[in-house]
Amino acid sequence: MPEVTTPARARSFEPVLLRVLASSFMLFVIAYIAIPIVINLTMSFSDAAMIRFPITGWSLRWYHDFFESEQWTGALVNSIVIALGTTVIATSAGILAAWAFERFPIPFKDGWYLLIMLPLFMPGVVLGLGVAIAFGGAVIGGYSIYGSRELVMIAHSLWAMPLVFMLMEATFRTLDYRILEASYDLGGRPIRTFFEIVMPLVSTGVISSALFAFVISLNEFVMALFLTNRDTQTLPVLMWLSLRSAGTPRLAVASVILALAVFACLTLIMLWYVRQLAKVSR
């Protein structure tokens, strides 16, 4: 009966071929994702004055160079300060808005929702340009807003805040609101209940969204390019500008340091998460 044997034979042949194809595809994807990361890591330990393969000598020369350069460490400090500021602004505004959406009836809810989420879908070039031309000459009390770190923090919050808002809305939805009722019944006022009952319950969500905000701001450089000057430029901006002139292993060092900052944050989330899990199991 050929009708039966044909699919049977096809079945015994196809899985082998598919498995080989699948494994080689996986290897390809792993290599694709790993290449830029591994190159940055290895090049940062190069001893050479320029980018060249094969790498002939290894040293920490460019790390010394990075930390001795006032311009580069200054940019790193700017990046961290701006990222911390963005985290505070985006997290507090996002959490409060998400709480309002979860707990109160709001007229035109969908419209407000769209408005808050909209900046997340806008290209960085457009957001940066808009803020730059609208606040280009703005001066408050002799303090020029344009070029200040604060303006960059708020511009970065345009991306970070919708993300926090989205995450926290999902987190608040998982809360057991009977606990809140209990707190109100025991005379807890709304603000105190929020900080003493709600916040501890959603702490994992808060920590994760805060770190997302931090990472977004730390890595962003298109908006920052439009909004910073020489004194406030962030590390990615400085990397971009020096890539345009000439690439040296110093850029690889800067990449590694940026990535280390991000992974340090991730480790923090993990530790926090493990601690919470341990608390629950106790």
Binding site: P7, A10, E14, L18, F25, M26, V29, I30, I33, I35, P36, I37, I39, N40, F53, P54, I89, A93, G94, L96, A97, A100, R103, F104, P105, I106, L115, I116, P119, M122, P123, G124, V125, V126, L129, G130, V131, A132, I133, A134, L158, M161, L218, N219, E220, F221, V222, L225, P236, M239, W240, L243, R244, G247, L251, A254, S255, L258, V262, F263
Partner: protein, 284 residues
């Protein structure tokens, strides 16, 4: 109770201030700016003209940029979805112990700054880069080659940046599918490719659409990767906005360009939504 009426607005205030003052006002300002005059090297001169929009759609420099951007976005999104789909499918089929490792791997491009990634590829493609070195030392080619500043390099960089989004969108879609469907299909004697075509593809169509739209929007708005890795002639819209703003100091032109970009992005979003709702309506 007035208290309950004011409370939500008080809570929403910081978010709304940020969005309205730093997104709403700049957008309106940009819309107005795009009609201002640009006379002899001054940033802008208040006035009203549609010259910049006309220029945008008649000057071959700008129409080419729009066309290049759309083309590049379509092509990059296509390959992103293709790669992302296969990757997500294979991860979904893997035993769970590998799953976390692959998810971690896919997170890497998201966590690393775009500039670091650009620089990584910047060291990979040129004459003295890793690719050329690896090919020469393995004996595949005899002379050093450079793929730097080609459309291929720009393309590799762009797909790299959008791949994780596609992957995570599609993986979440796959996770919603009951794996028993595959067994059922196999029991009914369907070979794997038939199962894929008849069972998996229809179930993941919405995910493909969302992933495609997402990477299309992303690539439309980006400018750093194509301008750093691609040839000098690869002028995308993002690059021209930056060039008009910081290089040529022509603010009205940059604003007009941005408005076109924003409207393009909005159109893609609306189109995706309408395609999605049509599909769900069909199923219901």
């Amino acid at each position: 109770m007035p208290r309950a009426r004011f409370a939500p607005w008080l809570l929403l205030a910081p978010a709304l201030v940020i969005v309205l003052v730093f997104f709403g006002i700049p957008t309106l300002y940009m819309a107005r700016m795009s009609f201002n005059l640009h006379i002899d090297q001054r940033l802008y001169v208040p006035g009203f003209t549609v010259e910049h929009y006309l220029n945008l759609f008649s000057n071959p420099l700008f129409t080419n940029a729009i066309w290049t951007t759309v083309q590049l976005s379509l092509l990059a999104s296509f390959f992103t979805v293709l790669l992302g789909y296969s990757f997500a499918l294979l991860v979904w089929l893997q035993p769970t112990r590998w799953r976390l490792a692959f998810i971690g791997l896919a997170l890497c491009p998201l966590l690393i700054s775009e500039i670091s990634i650009i620089f990584g590829w910047w060291m990979f493609f040129p004459r003295n880069g890793l690719l050329s070195y690896a090919l020469v030392s393995s004996g595949l080619i005899t002379n050093k080659i450079s793929l730097m500043y080609t459309e291929f390099a720009a393309f590799v960089g762009l797909v790299y940046l959008t791949l994780p989004y596609s992957f995570f969108i599609l993986l979440s879609i796959f996770d919603g599918i009951d794996k028993h469907l595959l067994e059922a299909s196999a029991d009914l004697a369907a070979p794997p490719l038939t199962t894929f075509r008849e069972v998996l593809l229809p179930l993941t169509r919405t995910g493909i659409l969302v992933a495609f739209a997402q990477s299309f929007i992303w690539v439309m708005g980006t400018y750093a990767t194509p301008s750093a890795l691609g040839p000098d002639t690869l002028w995308t819209m993002g690059y021209l906005i930056q060039e008009q703003m910081l290089g040529k100091h022509n603010w009205p032109m940059a604003a007009a360009f941005s408005m076109v970009l924003v409207i393009g992005v909005a159109c893609v979003m609306i189109l995706t939504r309408s395609l999605m709702s049509k599909r769900t309506a069909f199923h219901a």
